[in-house]
C-alpha cells in the first residue's frame, strides 16, 4: 500500500534535551501502525510532529507527499484526525455536540449533508449513543475517552493518529476501539496508535515501531519486532514473549520473580 504520511530524519530538541533524534517513519494506507516504547521515549512528540503541531528542528513531515505545514488547517483536518491523551472541555457540551464537532472541517463541503448519519454512526461505534444527551463533564474517564474517539471517527479522516486511546478503557472497549481502528485501516485509512499494552499492539497492529530515547529501535511486523531480547532491553526489565497456546497470537508479559524487582529508576523523567 502507498505511503500517506512520512517523517524523514526528524529531530526535536527542547533546549539541551533531545526528544527525537533522526526518526524516520512511513505510514501506509491500509495499515495499523503501533507506536510503542517506554515513558519519555518520544512517542507523543512523534505523534505531534506527524500531526503537524510540532515543527521539527530538522527533517520533514509529508502528508500525501506535501509538507504538512504547507497544508491549510481546514484541508489538513479533512485528511487527518488526532486523538490526544487528555481530552478536557471548557464548557458542558452534551456528548452528541462534542462528537458533531468532528464534522466541523466538512462544513461547506458536499460531505456536510452526511453529518447526522456520520455522527450517529460514530456514537454507536464508540458505544456512547446512550450517553448522547449527557453533558461531557458528567462522564467517567472511559466514557470521555470513548466520546473523544467518536469525535475523531466523525472526522472521517484518511489518517487517524491516536495517542494512548485505550489508557482509560476497560477490556471490552479496548478491543472494540482497536477492532474499529483495524476496520478503518482495512477500508483504506492509515492508523497510528500509541500503545503501552504490547500484547494488544501485537494483536491488532500490522506494524510495530519501537521508540526508545528518541530513536527507532525496531520497525516491522509484530512477530519480528516484539522479541524478548529487544523488549527487555528497551524497557530495562526482563520480558517474556510467547505464543498463546492453540493459536499464533503473541503474548508479551513481564517477568515477575523477586530476582527481577523493578527499580523505580531515574528513567521516568517526564
Amino acid at each position: 500500500m502507498s505511503v500517506v504520511l512520512e517523517a524523514l530524519g526528524v529531530r526535536v530538541a527542547y533546549g539541551p534535551t533531545t526528544i527525537l533524534d533522526g526518526v524516520d517513519v512511513d505510514v501506509h494506507a491500509g495499515q495499523v501502525l503501533a507506536l510503542v516504547g517506554p515513558n519519555g521515549a518520544g512517542k507523543s512528540t512523534l505523534l505531534s510532529v506527524l500531526a503537524g503541531d510540532t515543527v521539527p528542528d530538522e527533517g520533514d513531515v509529508r502528508l500525501d507527499a506535501l509538507d504538512v505545514r504547507a497544508i491549510r488547517l481546514d484541508e489538513l483536518a479533512r485528511r487527518r484526525a488526532v486523538l490526544l491523551q487528555e481530552n478536557r472541555l471548557s464548557f458542558p457540551f452534551p456528548v452528541r455536540d462534542v462528537v458533531a464537532m468532528g464534522r466541523a472541517p466538512w462544513r461547506g463541503t458536499g460531505a456536510e449533508d452526511d453529518d447526522d448519519r456520520v455522527v450517529g454512526a460514530a456514537l454507536a461505534t464508540a458505544d456512547v449513543a446512550h450517553l448522547a444527551t449527557r453533558t461531557y463533564p458528567t462522564l467517567s474517564g472511559g466514557e470521555k475517552a470513548r466520546t473523544s474517539f467518536a469525535r475523531a471517527l466523525a472526522q472521517e479522516p484518511g489518517v487517524l493518529l491516536l495517542d494512548e486511546p485505550t489508557a482509560a478503557l476497560d477490556i471490552r472497549h479496548q478491543e472494540a476501539l482497536l477492532v474499529e481502528s483495524r476496520d478503518r485501516a482495512r477500508a483504506g485509512a492509515a492508523v497510528v496508535v500509541v500503545l503501552h499494552d504490547l500484547t494488544l499492539a501485537a494483536a491488532y497492529a500490522d506494524r510495530v515501531v519501537v521508540l526508545a530515547d528518541g530513536r527507532v529501535r525496531g520497525d516491522g511486523p509484530p512477530v519480528d519486532v516484539l522479541t524478548s531480547a529487544l523488549v527487555s532491553d528497551v524497557y530495562q526489565h526482563p520480558v517474556d514473549v510467547f505464543t498463546r497456546p492453540g493459536s499464533d497470537e503473541l503474548v508479551v508479559l513481564p517477568v515477575r520473580t523477586p530476582a527481577h524487582r523493578p527499580v523505580a529508576a531515574g528513567k521516568e523523567s517526564r
Binding site: 484541508e75 490526544l84 446512550h130 467517567s140
Partner: protein, 364 residues
C-alpha cells in the same frame, strides 16, 4: 461506572431532553425580545415626567411618519422622550448587549466561565484610557476621542491579561482572578493619579464615571457607541462556531481546522471593542458580562451560536431593567447603575466561584 449507567432515568430522558432543549431556544429568544420591547416602552415612559406606554408608542410611530395612536398629552412630553428618554433607553440596550457579548466572548477564548471584562480588569484598563481624556482635555478625534482611548486601554489590558493568565491553552480560575486583582490594582493606581491631577470638576466627572451611569446620554453619544457595538456583536457571531471548537482546547481545535492564533487575535480585539463601546460614555458597569452568559448557558447550553446572540439580547434586557431601577427606585435621584449591577453581580460571582470550585474539584 456501573452506578452511573444503572441510573433509572437514561432510558426516558435522552429522547425527551433533545426536543426540550431545541424548543427552549426559540422560547428564550421570543421571551427576551418581548421583555426588551415592554421594558423599553415602560422605561421611556417612567420618570419625573410620566408618559403612559400608549403615548410612548404613539410618539414613536408619529416620528416614524405613521399617524397612529395618541401623542403625549403633556406639552413637554414629546421633547422629554426624544431628547432624554429615548437616547438613554438606546444606550442601555447597546451597553448591556456589548457587556454581555464581551463577557461571553471572553469566557469562550479564555475557556473559563468566570472570565469577564470587569473581573479581569479590562474595564478598568478602558477606564484609564477614558479618564485620561477627561483630565488631559484631549479632543483629537472629536466625539470619538473617549471611545478611541478606552479602546486602546481595553486592548492593552486584554493583551496583558491574555498573555499572563493562560497556561497550555486555558486559564485556571485562581490565575484568572488573581490576574484581575493585579490589573485592577494597577489601573486603580492610574485612575487615582488622574483623579489627583484633575481639577475639582474633572474629579467629580471621574468619580461619577467610575460609578457607572447612563445619566446625561445624548444622541451623539449613541451615534458613537452604536456602530462600535454593532461591529463587535457581528464579529462575535461570526467566530461563534470556532469558539465551540476552542472549548476542546487549543490543540484539538487546531486539529479540527481552527486557526487558533488568528481566532485569539480577533477575539481580543472584539472584546476590547465591545468593552470600549460600553465604557466610553457610561463608565464601569461590572458583572453584566458574567451573569448574563451564565444564565443563558443554564437555560440553553453552552453552544456559542446561541449563547452570543442570546447574551446580547439578555444583556440589553438586564441593563434596561437595571437602569429603570436606578432612575425610579429613589424619587428625584439617579442612582449609579454600576453600583446596582455590582450589588447583584458581586454575590453572584461569589456563588459562581464556589460552585466552580466544587464542580472542578479544587481551584482548577
Amino acid at each position: 461506572m456501573p452506578t452511573t449507567t444503572a441510573a433509572p432515568t437514561p432510558t426516558t430522558s435522552p429522547s425527551a431532553a433533545v426536543p426540550t432543549r431545541s424548543r427552549r431556544i426559540p422560547a428564550l429568544f421570543v421571551g427576551l425580545s418581548a421583555a426588551l420591547l415592554v421594558l423599553a416602552v415602560l422605561s421611556a415612559g417612567m420618570g419625573q415626567l410620566s408618559v403612559p406606554p400608549a403615548e410612548v408608542v404613539g410618539s414613536l410611530l408619529h416620528h416614524l411618519g405613521l399617524d397612529v395612536g395618541p401623542v403625549p398629552a403633556h406639552p413637554n412630553g414629546d421633547a422629554a422622550l426624544w431628547t432624554i428618554r429615548f437616547p438613554r433607553v438606546a444606550m442601555a440596550l447597546l451597553v448591556g448587549a456589548a457587556l454581555a457579548t464581551g463577557g461571553a466572548l471572553m469566557q469562550g477564548v479564555f475557556g473559563n466561565p468566570l472570565a469577564d471584562p470587569g473581573v479581569v480588569g479590562v474595564s478598568s484598563g478602558a477606564a484609564v484610557g477614558a479618564c485620561a481624556v477627561i483630565v488631559l482635555g484631549l479632543t483629537f478625534l472629536g466625539p470619538w476621542t473617549v471611545a478611541a482611548t478606552a479602546f486602546v486601554g481595553g486592548l492593552l489590558t486584554t493583551i496583558l491579561v491574555y498573555a499572563t493568565a493562560r497556561e497550555n491553552g486555558r486559564t485556571e480560575v485562581v490565575t484568572l482572578v488573581l490576574t484581575g486583582v493585579a490589573v485592577n490594582a494597577v489601573a486603580g493606581a492610574a485612575l487615582a493619579l488622574l483623579t489627583f491631577l484633575g481639577d475639582t470638576q474633572e474629579r467629580e466627572q471621574i468619580v461619577f464615571w467610575q460609578l457607572g451611569s447612563l445619566n446625561g446620554t445624548r444622541w451623539p453619544y449613541v451615534a458613537v457607541v452604536a456602530p462600535i457595538v454593532a461591529v463587535g456583536i457581528a464579529g462575535a457571531v461570526l467566530v461563534a462556531r470556532r469558539l465551540d471548537l476552542l472549548a476542546l482546547g487549543e490543540r484539538s481545535a487546531r486539529h479540527l481546522g481552527v486557526d487558533v492564533e488568528r481566532l485569539r487575535v480577533v477575539c481580543i480585539v472584539l472584546v476590547a471593542l465591545l468593552t470600549a463601546g460600553a465604557v466610553a460614555f457610561c463608565g464601569i458597569i461590572a458583572f453584566v458580562g458574567l451573569v448574563v452568559p451564565h444564565l443563558v448557558r443554564m437555560a440553553v447550553g453552552p453552544g456559542h451560536r446561541v449563547l452570543i446572540p442570546a447574551s446580547a439580547l439578555g444583556g440589553a434586557v438586564l441593563l434596561l431593567a437595571a437602569d429603570l431601577v436606578a432612575r425610579t427606585a429613589v424619587p428625584y435621584a439617579d442612582l449609579p447603575i454600576g453600583m446596582l449591577t455590582a450589588l447583584v453581580g458581586g454575590p453572584f460571582f461569589f456563588w459562581l466561584i464556589r460552585r466552580t470550585r466544587r464542580s472542578a474539584g479544587g481551584w482548577a
